[in-house]
């Protein structure tokens, strides 16, 4: 908008005489903000700052994305984005992205690289793989992945199978294995459950970081707003059980601080009252559950049931002494939980990722069974999957057969991890020891273990033992720094990828990522495409297993299934029409959930919800049989203390904590603030600058302590302190925060990078540097919250 000299004079005149003016004129003074014509267009994508899977609308101006919004009717986020989503463009535009394929020069981790062409890069990697394969050492290749979405997991599994290595560690349970294992033993499902926010009236959250983290964040945030104020006359109640006064706790109607690691006991205490007062949903319990009452098996042996176990061992006063939660609170919560139906009990990593995580989660699931809030309106729903078209079967040749016949490097499925599909956390030790065999080649995809798992130093030394490391990361993260070859993936704005929420709203849905720039900013390639090219380069049956020229084509094939089912939000005559529509809309979904279908046939031996887990019983029996070990030795291997029927019933196992209480008096609680995107958020200044709103912290990490405790230890707000565990110590500054359990210290996760670009590097500290590895062996996963620490004053800037 140009403006005439007349306007100008008028304006200055008017301004001086204080007449109000339309801002159009006042704003358009010459020499500043002169208006440049531009052409804009909108495209869609799916956010991947966290696994929430929100739909993105991207506004581009003259070819460059300038703003992200949510897709208006995308079920997960309904047009909304969280701060991480909003900051997404700083992922795309990060000045420290890896510009092209790189080959290491100089020593590992030295940071000397040379750019190479994609053809060379792919050739080099393919050579290595081919070589190993020919020498019958295909199994010595490990693929370690993290943030898979949609078909990426299948593509990689396919690649590893065709190639012939059993060692695909997909972080398939996304860091919350405990929760999944609980669901698995009680309901036979290895998946997260969706919350039916529309109807739920009472949410009992055992450390589910509902308003900060637990996925799908935006669905939960909306759910919170809706269940609080969205329904005239009805105001849902949220009770947050958590040692930390989290944001969720602050927005909850009631906060119940609890001794860390004792949630299972609390759940059972609540169950006790509900059962004693006969407040449970008798219809559901009798029709859809197994092992509530004591029962006889085929051989006529009598077995303990959930009811009597709980009535005997978990009275409110017993539980109160374990959990530090007063009896009246327990009783009160139990009363409300069983009367304000529909009510649900949910949980988070703080509960699941403990040494007793599996049993705790089973106990929590049992609460849902007691009030019958599974697979019903306002209850927990099974996440239904879209019916993709199956890809053609994988081609195997003798080499792949040979490789696949080898045991897994991480010993998943064997003692001590009988029920795990994978145990990435143990890799460092196994690789170090070359047990059962040394590792030749390691692929890193979308994961940064040197940052995200405890005792990174072990991995660091293990890496020395690996001769060839390939990373697909677009960013120079801690682990990628030690790679030999980097094949940079595009960011989530620059690639074809589908995205199936885990969980979403229960009903089947899928979103689609697509390149929104005419061409990627840098010389990067979709890892999917790269894997396909690798397969082709390797040739033979491996190539045959990948009949598509690229990821887009592979996806199209899978989506053909949805198209031909002729259901849901997109109905088109021909597939091209369907594809155009889905790429324009950003996704497909079918907004009907088949209530009652799941509960009618659970995926368990009894086909019912199992208070008494027969899956667990069978599993252990087979194990005893296979290993011809006695039951008791197996229990000892799994560090299970109880005997007999209790083993298969949810019960309270004493959590195990490393570091004895005298020297290390505090539990170290680490949490994900809304502003931290796992290990990935720290390279985004917008997030750094608002990192800790509840303490006005930014660009740094800190440790929270209870003011009383601080006074006792003579610590003042902001003092520099050391946090020390048996493993080592961290220096940061202390913040007095009344929302801290006296027995705990709290620390945000996401800072403390040693790499990852200019904004992340050397900022704050990473709890993983002092956390100690401990496991829930039954579930076969890392217990992330088992480290005790002490805190003491440090000298300024030492």
């Amino acid at each position: 908008m140009r403006i005439s000299r007349r306007d100008l004079l008028k304006m200055i005149g008017a301004a001086t005489f204080g007449i109000a003016l339309p801002e159009e004129i006042l704003y358009a003074l010459p020499s500043e903000g002169e208006w440049i014509p531009y052409e804009e267009y909108w495209s869609t994508g799916i956010c991947l700052q966290c696994p929430g899977g929100c739909g993105l609308r991207v506004r581009s101006v003259n070819g460059w994305p300038v703003k992200l919004e949510g897709i208006k009717d995308y079920p997960i986020n309904r047009g909304r984005l969280c701060p991480k989503g909003q900051a997404g463009l700083q992922v795309l535009y990060d000045p420290d992205r890896i510009p092209s394929p790189l080959r290491r020069k100089g020593k590992r981790g030295e940071g000397k690289w040379e750019r190479i062409s994609w053809d060379d890069a792919i050739r080099i990697v393919a050579e290595n793989l081919k070589g190993l394969r020919m020498r019958g050492r295909a199994h010595q290749v490990v693929f370690w992945g993290g943030r898979y979405r949609g078909h990426m997991f299948d593509l990689v599994s396919r690649f590893m199978e065709a190639y012939g290595s059993p060692n695909h560690l997909g972080n398939s349970s996304r860091g919350s294995e405990g929760i999944l294992k609980g669901h698995f033993f009680t309901m036979g499902e290895n998946d997260f459950l969706a919350i039916h926010w529309e109807k739920v009236n009472y949410v009992l959250s055992f450390g589910a970081s509902l308003l900060e983290a637990s996925r799908p964040s935006l669905r939960n945030l909306w759910g919170y707003g809706h269940f609080r104020r969205g329904r005239p006359g009805i105001r849902g109640k949220l009770v947050q059980i958590e040692p930390r006064f989290s944001l969720t706790a602050s927005k909850a109607d009631q906060w119940v601080p609890i001794e860390p690691g004792t949630d299972g006991a609390l759940a059972l205490g609540i169950a006790h009252w509900i059962i004693k007062e006969r407040r449970y949903d008798k219809e559901f319990v009798s029709r859809y559950t197994f092992g509530f009452e004591d029962w006889k098996d085929s051989e006529g042996r009598q077995h303990l049931g959930f009811k009597n176990l709980v009535l005997k061992d978990y009275s409110p006063q017993q539980v109160s002494s374990i959990t530090g939660v007063s009896e009246e609170v327990i009783v009160n919560v139990a009363r409300e939980f069983s009367s304000h139906l529909p009510s649900i009990a949910i949980s988070g990593r703080g509960v699941g990722m403990q040494t007793n995580g599996t049993y705790s989660q089973m106990a929590i699931d049992c609460l849902n069974a007691l009030v019958g809030s599974i697979d019903c309106q306002g209850g927990l729903l099974l996440q239904r999957k879209p019916n993709f078209k199956k890809w053609p079967p994988v081609q195997r040749d003798s080499f792949s057969e040979k490789g696949l016949s080898q045991p897994r490097i991480d010993g998943a499925g064997e003692i001590p991890f009988p029920f795990a599909q994978e145990v990435p956390y143990i890799l460092p030790e196994r690789i170090e020891a070359g047990d059962p065999y040394p590792i030749e080649t390691l692929f890193l995809y979308y994961t940064n273990p040197l940052f995200s798992i405890p005792e990174p130093e072990k991995l660091l030394s293990a890496i020395e033992k690996i001769s060839f490391i390939v990373s697909f990361s677009p960013f120079m993260d801690e682990t990628t720094e030690y790679a030999d070859i980097i094949l940079p993936d595009g960011t989530y704005f620059e690639r074809w990828q589908d995205d199936v929420p885990q969980p979403g709203l229960g009903f089947p849905m899928v979103g689609i990522r697509q390149p929104i720039l005419s061409k990627p900013i840098h010389n990067v390639r979709n890892t999917g495409d790269v894997l396909i090219s690798l397969a082709k380069e390797i040739g033979g049956s491996v190539a045959k297993s990948f009949p598509w020229e690229n990821m887009e084509k592979a996806l199209k094939e899978a989506f053909y299934g949805i198209f031909s089912s002729k259901r849901g939000s997109i109905l088109e005559k021909d597939f091209d029409g369907f594809w155009n529509k889905i790429t324009k809309i950003g996704g497909w979904w079918e907004e009907t959930y088949p209530f009652g279908k799941w509960r009618a046939k659970f995926n368990t031996p009894s086909g019912k919800f199992e208070f008494y887990s027969q899956l667990l019983r069978q599993g252990l029996r087979e194990l005893a049989h296979k290993t011809s070990k006695s039951f008791d030795t197996i229990l000892r291997d799994l560090k299970i203390e109880v005997k007999g029927d209790k083993v298969f019933l949810p019960h309270f196992e004493k959590p195990c904590f490393i570091g004895d209480k005298k020297d290390y008096p505090f539990h170290l609680i680490h949490y994900k603030p809304m502003t931290s995107a796992e290990g990935r958020g720290a390279n985004q200044p917008y997030l750094q600058e608002i990192f800790g709103p509840h303490l006005y912290e930014r660009w740094d990490s800190w440790v929270e302590i209870n003011p009383e405790t601080a006074r006792r230890l003579g610590l003042k707000d902001g003092d520099p302190v050391w946090i020390e565990s048996v493993k080592g110590r961290l220096k940061t500054h202390v913040r007095l925060f009344p929302g801290t359990h006296p027995a705990c210290l709290q620390m945000p996760y996401g800072q403390g990078h040693r790499a990852y670009g200019r904004w992340a590097k050397g900022r704050g500290v990473n709890p993983n540097d002092i956390l100690v590895k401990e496991y829930d062996y039954l579930g076969g996963f890392l217990s992330h919250f088992s480290t005790r620490v002490k805190i003491y004053k440090a000298r300024k800037n030492v």
């Binding site: 903000g33 701060p83 000045p95 945030l221 909306w222 608002i690 740094d700």
Partner: protein, 231 residues
């Protein structure tokens, strides 16, 4: 004539700060960086304020998003010696960047401390520059800026409405902060339209305004159950 206003429901707001980032991305507000942020040079047209009451274990924590209140009698405008900030006919307290000479009296006289000064020339690493919004005007060092209810979005909506010879519909203009708010806590609209959502919400029994006692007549309303304590 429109009278733009905003309602923020604190019972819904979870302090997620999506509004904060959305505002910065939409209005080309550069981040300050660690050092500058420590010196109080970070600009948050939408600022997040936290209140903690009580002690462990029974305490409360509130988050209050604070945009410019677009006061109906704004203390900030009258003190500006060169009239670089003024109340426009639609009730938006607009900032005329080219006119501002940086006296900062408006800043010290804004009881809500939502005016921000360009202590340095606003700058970005080149890579981010591509992602700037062309609709908002450049700022330079030495001038004051603040939330303007995403005036550029309003202007766009007006152009459309003008073409179609009609008033802007309720919900047609959505500021960046409101658009992204995951819990639907922010509502924006025209107070002159008695059917608009803002109008209705602003009449809610839960509605209150910050520091009413100052008589600044803010046009950002807050909703909260029960008594409200500020300070």
């Amino acid at each position: 004539m429109y009278r733009w206003a905003m309602v923020i429901d604190l019972d819904r707001c979870t302090g997620c700060q999506a509004c904060v980032v959305a505002c910065r991305q939409e209005n080309n507000i550069p981040f300050a960086g660690e050092k500058q942020a420590k010196l109080g040079r970070a600009k948050f047209w939408m600022n997040m304020i936290r209140e903690i009451e009580g002690d462990y274990p029974d305490l409360k924590m509130h988050f209050i998003p604070i945009p410019c209140m677009q006061c109906d009698n704004p203390p900030c405008t009258i003190v500006c010696p060169v009239r670089a900030t003024y109340k426009n006919p639609e009730g938006i307290v607009a900032q005329v960047y080219p006119r501002c000479i940086g006296v900062r009296m408006c800043i010290s006289n804004c009881p809500y401390t939502v005016r921000y000064f360009n202590w340095h020339a606003p700058d970005w690493p080149n890579e981010y520059k591509r992602g700037r919004n062309p609709d908002v005007y450049k700022r330079r060092k030495g001038i004051t800026e603040k939330c303007n209810f995403c005036i550029h979005r309003i202007r766009k909506a007006k152009e459309v409405a003008k073409k179609e010879k009609r008033r802007i519909r309720d919900g047609e203009v959505v500021p960046a902060c409101a658009e992204t708010c995951p819990t639907d806590a922010i509502t924006f609209g025209d107070l002159n339209d008695p059917k608009s959502r803002v109008y209705l919400l602003s009449k809610s029994p839960r509605a209150f305004r910050l520091m009413e006692e100052l008589g600044t007549e803010p046009r950002v309303f807050y909703l909260k159950q029960g008594e409200w304590k500020d300070g």
